[in-house]
Amino acid sequence: MIELFKNPNYDFIGKRKWAYYVSIAFTLLSLGSLVVRGGLRYDIDFTGGTLMQVRFEGAPSVAQVRASLTRIQLGEAVIQQFGDAREFVIRLPLAAVSSEEVARRVQAALGGDAQLGKFEIRRVEFVGPQVGRDLQLQAIYAVVAGMIGILLYIAMRFDLRGGVAAIIAVFHDVLVCLGALSLTNREFSLPVLAALLTIIGYSVNDTIVAYDRLRENRGRFVPKGRTFAQQMNDAVNQTLSRTILTSLTTFFSAAVLLFFGGKTLEDFAFVLFIGVITGTYSTTYIAAAIVVDWTQHVEGRLGRGKKAVAKA
């Protein structure tokens, strides 16, 4: 039998103070990056605009492609190599002309430049301003609705404290993922949003496993002489190997997507990759830790209250 941990008994909860500092540091780092860079870079899904994926027969440089596009005057084009050397993605901001006209002009400009050689337009995406705005709203709605759904579910199955703590943990994960996106200068697109929502579900998954264990332990026998913090720490330790193993397999899946999933899925996989790590961390060090501190706070007040009554 291969075992990662034999009867693990690490003091996770005892070190939660340090973990709070780490969490706050990462959150601030993410927020800082977002502020410094002036918010997220949104993909055309949210800003509106035109995206064209073009494959050339030769391998022109970005500068060459840019040079041939300056003449059409459709605003600042963002040109990126995409996957291999022959493939490019061109992003254009919303223009006054229609989407057909934009596509036609780009095609004419690229076709008119003999240096670029033959090319094939493999993908055209156009998102109008109206749709972009709608998607922005819907994205916010989706994240908020996802969190509320989870909060309600946990509050119903466990208690409100657990629900709120889980949501704080999830919020931290989302922020860190957004920060990582911003630090690596990636764009926030629809697939990235899907990845974020998956991470929300995933992070909560871990938290529920720990809560479940705590509840089961407390239900079976009333633990004598063990504080709530110790009980929580036991639950985390008892589920530790499961947590690490599951995180590993999911992490593998995300890593495979990141390295073999192709350019289109790269950002999506990147968010999953980061999210799995922070999701696993936040279960113990944010969700469980907050529940412990909250419970101690409430019990402490109750205790003081009792003493006060006894005195009087």
Binding site: E3, Q53, Y202, F260, F268
Partner: protein
């Protein structure tokens, strides 16, 4: 073998066979999304207000005609905004007659009445405006469906989205530019007389009567690709529209070899009107106007009784064919604009399929090996369950007709990782029970029972998020949500129910199980 094992075995067998039945043959049963097979995804916005405006215009013309017929002199009659007609009589004495005539326009309500000045406004009622908005979208949908059918696209999706949008998905279209032009053009065909009293130069400077306007003929030189615009002064009044067409056919243009033209034929009403118009205007020029562009303006030599006409314009055979299609399918009641477009070429789609499959295979392989290495025989059981999970997942997608997209494939790769979570939960629990000194069999029992609640909780939370994603999502994100949701549902069955069965089968019949490989 105990009875309940038989029952459970049969359930699994039925699911297995059902899955294979639904999935076979996968190339036909699986519904690939546009990002995987290539095609066009379009969201069109219908400019519903323009439909209201054109209906108001028509009512204003009717009103004017009726007043003229009754000999009531009008100083001004014009549309204001989209849904208001302002009327001013030449003299207020005809006020009561005006009220009588206006009363016949039941779609409008009278406002701002000033009998002394002979002025009033007719405002279209809110319910009528709403009805027209709805009509514009419904008719537009119908017209576009007709056009797409005649263009010949296999399995198009054309549906209404929200109040004023139309969603169109055309899989496998090779020439997106042409398809878009066909769908998006209004195709309003109008016959109007040229205003031959106003010289073109004068009109271009802005001095032209209120009843006339300048329209252009676009001539594209096929060699140099440069566009030339020829101005025409045209009377605003429309004599006949494409609504009165019965046929539109492509023909070779006898006067210009290599070019094509569209021959049209009118309905009986159209034929009558066309006959009258040509009879009354012999010697003048009749402009054929399509979507505000003049195509030709031939001279009327004599009355044309047969109800036939020809639209020329140096068309290629494809252009002529598409024009014939849109004329037959009819004009859109209101113009449409493209709000969103996603076009994927077939070669990119094929690449995406390959990449997606590589990702799934690789992630499954990594997880397979890991489970086998870590849990030995139990790991093998989990791996078999994972295989069944993927089978059920694909079969369910086929059975529900769900669409497999590239993010959907990513969702499946992710499901693979999360599905084994269930087995890890159970196995870790069994190990724990073994450590407490339980016999293998009771450890297995306890492991499965204790883990169940956690498993249900973890699955339900992620399924909640998947459901929200689906509700929110557009195309590709929806695909991701669907595969995630179905994958999790399948994993509840395979990772719990099915592995349990395999465990029971492996250790059944042995009175005493010494050890289990976990």
């Amino acid at each position: 073998m105990p009875r309940n094992l038989w029952t459970r075995g049969i359930v699994v067998l039925v699911v297995l066979l059902g899955s294979v039945w639904y999935l076979y043959p996968p190339k036909q049963t699986l519904n690939l999304g546009l990002d995987l097979q290539g095609g066009i995804h379009l969201v069109l916005g219908v400019e519903v207000d323009k439909h209201v405006a054109s209906q108001t215009d028509r009512a204003a013309e009717d009103l004017k005609a009726q007043l003229e017929r009754k000999g009531i002199a009008v100083r001004r009659i014009a549309r204001e905004g989209n849904a208001t007609i302002a009327v001013e009589l030449a003299s207020p004495q005809a006020w009561n007659d005006l009220l009588t005539v206006a009363g016949e326009f039941q779609r409008f309500e009278r406002r701002n009445e000033e009998p002394a000045a002979g002025r009033l406004r007719l405002v279209m009622s809110e319910t009528e405006i709403r009805r027209l908005h709805d009509d514009a979208v419904r008719q537009g949908l119908e017209t576009i469906r007709n056009r797409v059918d005649q263009f010949g696209v296999a399995e198009p999706v054309i549906t209404r989205q929200g109040a004023e949008r139309i969603l169109i998905q055309l899989p496998g279209v090779q020439d997106p530019t042409r398809a878009k032009a066909l769908i998006g053009r209004t195709a309003l065909l109008e016959f109007k007389l040229l205003d031959e009293r106003t010289p073109v130069e004068e009109a271009l400077k802005g001095s032209l009567p209120e009843s006339s306007e300048v329209l252009y003929q676009r001539r594209v030189d096929k060699e140099t690709k440069t566009e030339r615009k020829v101005p025409y002064v045209v009377q605003k009044r429309t004599l006949l529209t494409g609504a009165e067409l019965t046929r539109a056919e492509v023909q070779a243009d006898p006067n210009s070899p290599g070019n094509w033209q569209v021959a049209i034929e009118f309905t009986s009403t159209g034929t009558r009107i066309f006959g009258e118009v040509t009879e009354q205007n012999v010697g003048r020029h009749l402009a054929i106007v399509l979507d505000g562009n003049v195509y030709s303006a031939p001279r009327i030599n004599e009355r044309i009784p047969g109800g036939r006409a020809v639209i020329t314009g140096q068309f290629t055979v494809d252009e002529a064919r598409d024009l014939a299609i849109v004329l037959r399918a009819g004009a859109l009641p209101a113009p449409v604009t493209i709000l969103e477009e996603r076009t994927v070429g077939p070669s990119l789609g094929a690449d995406s399929v390959r990449q997606g499959l590589i990702a799934i295979t690789a992630s499954a392989a990594v997880v397979f090996v890991f489970m086998l290495f870590y849990y030995r025989l139990s790991g093998l059981i989990a791996d078999v369950a994972l295989g069944l999970n993927l089978l059920i997942l694909f079969a369910a997608m086929a059975a529900f007709g769900a669409t497999l997209t590239l993010p959907g494939l990513a969702g499946i790769a992710l499901t693979v990782g999360m599905a084994v979570d269930t087995n890890i939960l159970i196995f870790e629990r069994i190990r724990e029970e073994l450590r407490l000194g339980k016999t293998p069999r009771s450890a297995v029992d306890a492991g499965f029972t204790r883990a169940l609640r956690t498993i249900i909780d973890t699955h339900l939370t992620v399924m909640v998020t998947a459901a929200i994603l689906y509700n929110f999502g557009t195309g590709s994100v929806k695909g991701f949500a669907v595969s995630l949701f179905v994958g999790l549902a399948a994993s509840l069955f395979t990772a719990y129910f099915f592995t349990r069965l395999l465990f029971d089968l492996a250790y059944v019949g042995r009175r005493k199980v010494e050890a289990i490989s976990i």
